[in-house]
C-alpha cells in the first residue's frame, strides 16, 4: 500500500473522484495500480490463472459500476481486493458445484482438530527435507496453503503474501479484529503442521 499516494490528484481517492466525473484514464490508472494484487489474491483463491484473470476483469467492471458506493473513509486497495475476493468466492462456488455433480469427490474436506482446516493433506515424505530445492519448497508451501479451508486461507493470503494489516484484512473480509487474529494464528499453525509432515521438519 503506497502511503505517499493517499492524498492529491494521483491518490487512489483522487482517481476514484476523477473516474466518477467520467475520466476513464483515471480509472485506468487504478486498474494498472491494483490489478496485480487483485490477480494474486484471486489466483490464490481459485488456484487457476485463467479463472483469476476473469475474476480481476469482473471485479474491476463491478467496481466501476459501483464507484458511487465507494466510501471515502475506506481504502481503495482494500475495497478493490474485497470485490475481487467476492468474485473469486463466487467462481470457486461455481467450480465446486460443478465438481459436486461428479459422482465421486476426490477432495472432500478432512476433519482435523477444530473445524475443516485441511483439504487433501500432502503425503508424509521425510526423505525430501535436505534436498528440496527452492522451487520444490515453494511448491510444497503452496500445497499446504491450498489445503487450508477458504476462510483461513483468505486471511493468510492477505497477511503473509499480500502484506495487508490486520485492520485492512478485517475491512476487506468484513471480520472483527479478534477473528482476523485467531484465524491467522490457526492458519499459520496448520501450514506449519502441514510442512512438518511433508518435509519432516522446517
Amino acid at each position: 500500500m503506497d502511503e505517499q499516494k493517499t492524498t492529491g490528484v494521483d491518490s487512489d481517492a483522487g482517481l476514484v473522484a476523477s473516474a466518477l466525473q467520467g475520466d476513464l484514464s483515471a480509472f485506468e490508472a487504478l486498474v494498472r495500480r491494483h490489478q496485480k494484487k487483485m490477480l494474486n489474491v484471486a489466483y490464490q483463491i481459485t488456484r487457476d490463472y485463467d479463472e483469476a484473470c476473469e475474476v480481476v476483469q469482473e471485479a474491476f467492471l463491478s467496481a466501476y459500476k459501483n464507484l458511487k458506493r465507494f466510501r471515502a473513509e475506506a481504502k481503495v486497495s482494500t475495497w478493490l481486493v474485497a470485490i475481487a475476493i467476492n468474485c473469486a468466492r463466487n467462481r470457486r462456488r461455481q467450480i465446486a458445484s460443478r465438481r459436486a455433480r461428479m459422482p465421486l469427490s476426490l477432495d472432500a474436506p478432512i476433519r482435523i482438530g477444530e473445524g475443516d482446516l485441511m483439504r487433501d493433506p500432502p503425503s508424509n515424505d521425510p526423505s525430501a527435507l535436505e534436498r528440496i530445492e527452492e522451487e520444490e519448497l515453494r511448491r510444497l508451501v503452496q500445497r499446504c496453503i491450498d489445503a487450508l479451508d477458504a476462510d483461513f486461507k483468505e486471511v493468510l493470503i492477505l497477511r503473509d503474501i499480500q502484506d495487508f494489516s490486520y485492520e485492512e484484512i478485517g475491512e476487506a473480509l468484513a471480520l472483527r479484529g479478534g477473528t482476523v487474529k485467531s484465524r491467522l494464528s490457526r492458519a499459520r499453525e496448520a501450514v506449519k503442521d502441514c510442512l512438518q509432515k511433508t518435509m519432516g521438519g522446517l
Binding site: N40, Q57, L61, V141, D160, R188, E189, V191, K192, L195
Partner: protein, 315 residues
C-alpha cells in the same frame, strides 16, 4: 499468562500486533518455556516460507481488456442518461415540466367547478330556454337514477334571486338533465353508477363540449361553465341608441371598459370587457332592456376580465 494463552498469541506477537502489556507477559513466559520458544521459531520459519510464494504477473492484455469492458459500460450508462435527461437540457426540461403542471392546474381550476354553478347561472331569456314548453310537460322526471340523485343536491342550494328566474333555472336544469341523460344513453355501454361518477362525467363533457355544441342549439348548462371569449349578448331593443348608452353606462359602473361602439347594418355593436365576476350583473342589466340571448351564458366563476360583445338590433 499461562502456556496455552501464550501459544495462541505467538502469531500476533510475531506481527507486533499485541499490546505492550501482553508483549511483556508473552516474553516472560517465553523465558521459562522452551517448547513455546521452539513453537515461535517454527512459526517464524513457516511465515518465512509462505512469504517466498511468488506473485504471478497479470497478462499484458489485462488492462486494455478491462478498460474495453469499462468503456462499454460507460457508454451504456451515458446513452441511458442521454435518453432520459441530457445534462444540457435538464434545466429547460424542468422549466417545461413546471409550466405544463401550472397550465394544467389553472385549466383544471377554471374548468372544474362545483354543481353550484347552476345556482350562479343568471336568467336566460325565453329564446334560450323555451319555458312555456317545459311548463306544459312539467319538470320531466329524470330518466335515470343518477339524475334524481342530482336534483336534491342542486335544488336546496339554489338561492332564488328572482321569482321569474327560479322557474327558468328549473327549466335550465331540466334541459341540462335531458342533455345529460341523452349523453348517458349514448354511452349506455358504461353508465355511471354513482354520483361522483356523474359529476366527473359532467366535468369531462364540459371539457370536451366546446366544439361539439352546434352554434344553433341553445347552450346546454354543462357547456356554459366554460365560456368561449368573448361573451356575446344579442339584444333586441326598439331604441338601439338608448340601449347602447344604457349598456355602456352599466359596463362602466361594473368596473369594465368599453373598447369600441359602432353601428353596422343598423345594429349597434359594443365591444369591451368587464370583470368576470360582474358578468351575471351585466347579463341581467342587458336582459332588462329587452329580449336577449347570451352566448355562452355567463357563469361568473372565471378570474380577471372577460371580453364581451353586445349586439343591439331593433326588432
Amino acid at each position: 499468562m499461562d502456556h496455552k494463552a501464550a501459544r495462541k498469541k505467538l502469531s500476533e506477537y510475531l506481527d507486533d500486533a499485541v499490546a505492550d502489556e501482553e508483549r511483556r507477559a508473552i516474553e516472560t513466559h517465553l523465558e521459562s518455556c522452551a517448547s513455546c520458544r521452539d513453537a515461535l521459531a517454527e512459526l517464524r520459519q513457516t511465515i518465512g516460507h509462505i512469504k517466498r510464494i511468488e506473485d504471478v504477473d497479470p497478462p499484458p492484455w489485462m488492462t486494455s481488456r478491462i478498460m474495453a469492458h469499462v468503456r462499454e459500460e460507460a457508454q451504456r450508462k451515458w446513452s441511458w442518461r442521454r435518453l432520459f435527461a441530457p445534462a444540457v437540457l435538464r434545466p429547460a426540461m424542468s422549466g417545461v415540466a413546471i409550466a405544463f403542471v401550472t397550465a394544467v392546474a389553472i385549466y383544471v381550476y377554471q374548468n372544474i367547478q362545483p354543481e353550484v354553478s347552476f345556482r350562479e347561472m343568471p336568467a336566460l331569456p325565453e329564446a334560450a330556454a323555451p319555458v312555456g314548453q317545459e311548463k306544459e310537460k312539467g319538470p320531466a322526471p329524470p330518466p335515470k337514477k343518477v339524475l334524481s340523485e342530482m336534483r336534491p343536491e342542486a335544488t336546496p342550494k339554489a338561492a332564488p334571486p328572482q321569482r321569474r328566474e327560479v322557474a327558468q333555472d328549473q327549466a335550465i336544469k331540466d334541459r341540462a338533465m335531458e342533455d345529460l341523460s341523452r349523453k348517458d344513453e349514448e354511452k349506455a355501454a358504461a353508465p355511471p353508477t354513482a354520483m361522483a361518477g356523474t359529476a366527473a362525467q359532467v366535468r369531462e363533457e364540459m371539457m370536451q363540449a366546446p366544439g361539439a355544441a352546434a352554434p344553433a342549439a341553445p347552450p346546454a348548462p354543462a357547456e356554459l361553465a366554460r365560456p368561449a371569449a368573448p361573451y356575446r349578448f344579442t339584444l333586441q331593443a326598439k331604441d338601439t341608441d338608448a340601449a347602447a348608452t344604457e349598456i355602456k353606462g352599466k359596463i362602466a359602473r361594473l368596473g369594465g371598459t368599453v373598447k369600441s361602439s359602432q353601428v353596422s347594418e343598423g345594429r349597434r355593436i359594443i365591444r369591451g370587457e368587464v370583470p368576470a365576476t360582474k358578468i351575471s350583473g351585466l347579463s341581467r342589466a342587458i336582459g332588462s332592456l329587452g329580449p336577449m340571448t347570451a352566448t355562452p351564458a355567463p357563469s361568473g366563476y372565471n378570474k380577471g376580465n372577460v371580453e364581451i360583445l353586445v349586439v343591439i338590433s331593433s326588432p
